[in-house]
């Protein structure tokens, strides 16, 4: 029994258990047990993976397994992980785990909420462990659709509009993606759907690559908030309930970056090299543009959503640099952004749950009222603006060092432009901190509010611990990722 199957099996059992559960206690018990198991499993996986790598197992993918599913169409249920996916699985587990606690008191229809939540989880895990184009795509879409209901039913504000927009845009993206996948499959001679086998064949004609690389990249890029396909992100995040925002920004958006790397660039290397410039420009715009947009927003979640646009833009930016360091940085940035954005959204959700507003003009002096959340927010902010000691710094520095190591004017210039985002980030983070946390509370209603409850504290502390851990001791993660990134890169580089 391949332990990766457990990542499918556990959410499935959770779905079943949720389906038959009768009261809130059982639901919570199911969720806590399930997410803890998943977390434990992914920690075990990480440790075991590192141990194997240290023992000199150098295969591109470990825990590989493959079952024929639709043999005539060469569709297999193939699974396997490398360092990158292990890191992503770990991230997902952490977010899922903390997200469970962040939605501890969700109402109404708790059971349904967790059903869809778990379905989403299932999709995410499936995506990261599969190595078959079809299976991967299937899990990808599985992860997207629950978003509609999660936002539409449990969201706030203009939730119906946002949910619809988000779903349609992402599905539009996956339409592109499906084209890309078909193009890859048939371009490579329609003999296999396995990513690694296709990469090994490397026989996709260049003109076909030119057509399908942009399609695939944009397909994933939509989820990775690539400019100008990012507009679902602000509305979607703003309307989503806390844990959904966490999961979405924390994990789902990473599917985009991961897919761009694993599929678009890995399988269509020639076009990736030749067309990278186009997407580098777009991602550079994303990076700066997102950050600049964030400055003048007044809704906390909008600020963070634009910030995500910027940070995820940086992920794609780094991937397109196609150097080992930059790509490692991209993966680190995914982890880092996942954790800290989840943290951000968790705290924003908690604040919103109390003040019932996210308008920064209406809040002031929260530090006095809810010190724990305020401090958490400040820490999240610091992580976001790349303070050393938190994950953001590690990721961004790796990206910039990597991006800068390409010796031509174009790459240099875009790198420097992208660098400016770290200043802009500081501006909007500090603006918010100054406006809502500092100062004297003005709204007398706010004075009655309380600080975080135990489940909220737990969520926040877990996430901060992870952000800090990645920030203080990045080398093990960097090593975990680095080697396998190099594998992929070696296939991309001409």
């Amino acid at each position: 029994m391949n332990i990766l199957n457990l990542f499918i099996f556990i959410p499935l059992s959770m779905l079943l258990a949720l389906f038959i559960s009768r009261n809130i206690k059982q639901i919570r018990a199911t969720m806590v047990t399930g997410s803890t198991l998943l977390l434990a499993l992914s920690v075990y996986l990480t440790i075991d993976f590192i141990a194997q790598r240290n023992a000199g197992v150098s295969a591109a993918q470990l825990y590989c397994d493959s079952w024929h599913w639709y043999p005539t169409l060469n569709i297999c249920y193939s699974i396997g992980v490398d360092g990158v996916s292990v890191a992503m699985i770990l991230l997902s587990s952490i977010i899922v785990f903390t997200g469970t606690f962040a939605s501890w008191r969700i109402k109404p229809q708790t059971k349904e909420f967790f059903l869809w939540y778990t379905l989403l989880t299932l999709g995410v895990y499936g995506f990261f462990i599969s190595t078959d184009l079809f299976t991967m795509f299937m899990f990808y879409e599985t992860a997207l659709i629950p978003m509609y209901l999660l936002i539409g039913v449990w969201g706030s504000g203009k939730k119906e509009y946002s949910a619809m927009k988000l779903t349609l845009m992402l599905m539009g993206g996956s339409a592109f993606l499906l084209m890309g996948i078909l193009g890859i499959y048939f371009g490579s001679g329609a003999t296999t759907m396995n990513i690694h086998e296709i990469a090994a064949l490397g026989n996709i004609p260049v003109n076909i690559q030119y057509i399908f690389f942009p399609l695939t990249f944009i397909g994933f890029g939509v989820l990775g908030a690539l400019f100008p396909f990012h507009t679902w992100s602000p509305d979607g995040h703003a309307s989503a309930p806390t844990s959904v925002s966490m999961l979405h920004a924390g994990v789902l958006m990473k599917l985009g970056g991961y897919g761009c790397f694993r599929i678009a660039m890995y399988l269509l290397p020639q076009a990736a090299n030749d067309l990278a410039w186009l997407f580098i420009i777009l991602t550079t715009i994303s990076v700066v543009y997102g950050a600049l947009s964030a400055i003048s927003q007044t809704d906390l979640k909008y600020i963070n959503a634009y910030s995500s646009v910027s940070h995820c833009g940086l992920v794609l930016f780094a991937l397109l640099m196609m150097t080992r360091t930059a790509c490692t940085g991209a993966i680190l940035q995914m982890l880092s952004h996942g954790l800290m954005t989840a943290l951000f959204f968790a705290i924003i959700g908690m604040i919103y749950g109390r003040t019932h507003t996210r308008d920064i003009r209406k809040m002031q002096g929260l530090m006095k009222i809810m010190p724990f959340l305020a401090v958490g927010y400040v820490i999240a902010g610091f992580a976001n603006l790349g303070l050393p000691g938190f994950s953001g710094f590690v990721a961004e520095m790796t990206i910039f060092v990597g991006a800068f190591s390409i010796d031509d004017i174009f790459h240099r210039v875009v790198t420097i432009i992208a660098c400016t985002s770290i200043v802009i980030t500081a501006v909007y983070i500090l603006r918010v901190v100054g406006k809502i946390l500092y100062g004297v509370p003005t709204d007398s209603e706010h004075l009655k509010l309380t600080d975080a409850t135990w489940d909220e504290r737990f969520t926040v502390i877990c996430l901060i611990a992870c952000v800090a851990a990645l920030g203080i001791a990045p080398m093990w993660m960097s090593n975990l990722i680095g080697g396998d990134v190099a594998n992929i890169i070696s296939n991309i580089q001409p």
């Binding site: 005539t72 569709i75 299937m138 509609y148 599905m171 339409a175 084209m179 499959y185 048939f186």
Partner: protein, 472 residues
């Protein structure tokens, strides 16, 4: 003069047997026996489905007029299975005061159309094909007008039969020229002569519209919404899946057998019609508030997707097509089952506003409906995703990249309107949602089967693999 050949046509003979048994039962049974009528019909159909599946050896009968092989048998069984589901759902409706006495006729008419479809698919001669098509549509018109005392039903019936006659006339016109050109009406003898001159194209298109009408491709689709809306819901369900499925399969056979030398022509034809069907049906569906009309447009759009499999015109395409039909049957019938239940509860037509807040009172039905709509929209892990993917794959394999792309973009639009329904059920608040529905056993059984189909058909590849083995 080997009349024993009749006995070799196992599916048809078996269905005819069922037909006769029902006919006789309807004549003789009275009182409490009628209560088990429905059950008996279902059991007979199950038995027949079994016979159908097991009867599949390849055979050509009546001098090449009739052809049957495992695949065709399978499709026949599939359609029978779909009919069974429809009949299961019809139980409560048939118990209604207006329909109670016409129960027998309902079965008879439905089964006669099914026989018609059998012959449609097995026909290797245009006369048999034509009679099959007529047999599949005329009783159906009666079924559409079955609710004699409802204006809508009558109106739908007349619209259906007039459009149907119009299209048959045009199709016959086309066939007559085919006959004139080739001098024969046997499929096997025709392809070498049909090479794509203007008159060939003329007859192709003229013939095509007859089936296009039954599949309701744009621009032959305009009757669809009206008839679907007016017909009794079970009949709408039947129209939208079974009749359509048979027609698609027939179309595939005719195009590949008869027009095998005119591939570029009919591919272009299908190309245009697919794009038109998917796009225009989507546009219609967006603003549609009546659910049955909405499902009509949805079914037009789905027909467009099936055409993607037909356009490939090879064994892979056939597999994809049959699989698509299968999935489409379970998903669409699930939706119609729910609509039927709601209708029986509220005694009114179902509009999108009716089902606002449906989830709060009927969570299971709402969930089933959601899954079915997701499946129709092609969302994994439900079966619809797989069937759509395979259809795209086959069209892509045949080189229709742009077509696939257009279809894919359209899936986004279709997702939009499916989600509108989901939104109505889950999100939109309603002070007076539909009350809790107590489904009867038959409906429940059919919905469970549909649910299982939606969830399992894609994940369990065994069905697809077996279809693939049968494809020719």
């Amino acid at each position: 003069m080997n009349y024993l050949q009749f006995l070799s046509m196992t599916p048809e003979i078996s269905l005819l047997g069922v037909f006769v048994m029902i006919f006789l039962f309807d004549l003789v049974a009275t009182g409490r026996y009628r209560r088990i009528f429905h059950g008996i019909v279902c059991l007979l159909l199950i038995a027949h489905t079994y016979i159908c599946i097991t009867s599949g050896e390849e055979q050509t009968l009546f001098g090449g007029m009739y052809y049957n092989n495992p695949m065709i048998s399978f499709v026949k069984a599939l359609l029978t299975f779909g009919t069974l589901l429809v009949i299961l759902q019809a139980h409560r409706w048939l118990r209604g005061s207006y329909t109670y006495y016409k129960q027998g006729e309902f079965y008879v008419l439905m089964l006669s159309t099914l026989i018609g479809m059998y012959f449609m698919m097995s026909a290797r001669h245009f006369l048999l094909l034509f009679i099959g098509i007529e047999l599949a549509s005329l009783p159906l018109a009666c079924l559409v007008a079955f609710d004699k005392y409802r204006h809508n039903s009558a109106e739908a019936g007349i619209k259906y039969i007039l459009s149907s006659m119009f299209s048959s006339a045009i199709m016959l016109f086309g066939i007559s020229y085919l006959y004139g050109i080739t001098g024969t009406l046997y499929f096997d003898d025709m392809p070498t002569i049909l090479t794509g001159t203007p008159i060939h194209i003329f007859s192709l298109v003229m013939f095509f519209v007859g089936l296009g009408f039954k599949i309701s491709l744009v621009p032959f689709h305009l009757w669809t919404a009206d008839s679907y809306q007016g017909a009794p819901t079970v009949v709408t369900a039947y129209l939208s899946v079974i009749s359509k499925g048979a027609a698609v399969f027939t179309l595939f056979v005719v195009l590949t057998k008869v027009f095998s030398n005119m591939v570029p022509q009919w591919q272009t034809l299908l190309y245009i019609l697919t794009v038109a069907s998917i796009t225009i049906a989507n546009l219609f569906a967006i603003k549609q508030h009546n659910i049955k009309r909405f499902m009509a447009f949805s079914s037009i759009s789905q027909a467009g997707y099936i055409m993607l499999a037909v356009i490939a015109g090879n064994a892979k395409g056939m597999t994809a097509m049959v699989f698509y039909i299968l999935v489409y049957i379970v998903a669409n019938l699930a939706v119609f089952g729910v609509i039927e239940s709601i209708e029986q509860q509220t005694r009114h037509g179902v509009r999108r506003e009716t089902i606002n807040g449906f989830y709060s009172t009927n969570p299971r039905l709402a969930l089933l409906m959601t899954l079915a709509l997701f499946s129709l929209a092609g969302i994994p892990p439900f079966a619809g995703f797989f069937s759509k993917f395979f259809v795209f794959m086959s069209a892509f394999d045949a080189g229709f990249w742009v077509l696939v792309f257009i279809a894919l973009i359209n899936t986004v639009i279709s997702l939009y309107y499916y989600l509108l329904i989901v939104k109505a059920m889950f999100i939109t608040p309603n002070e007076h949602p539909v009350q809790k529905i107590k489904c009867d056993l038959y409906t429940r059984l059919s919905l469970v089967i549909c649910f299982a189909g939606i969830v399992l058909l894609g994940i369990c590849s065994i069905v697809y693999i077996n279809i693939d083995k049968l494809a020719f």
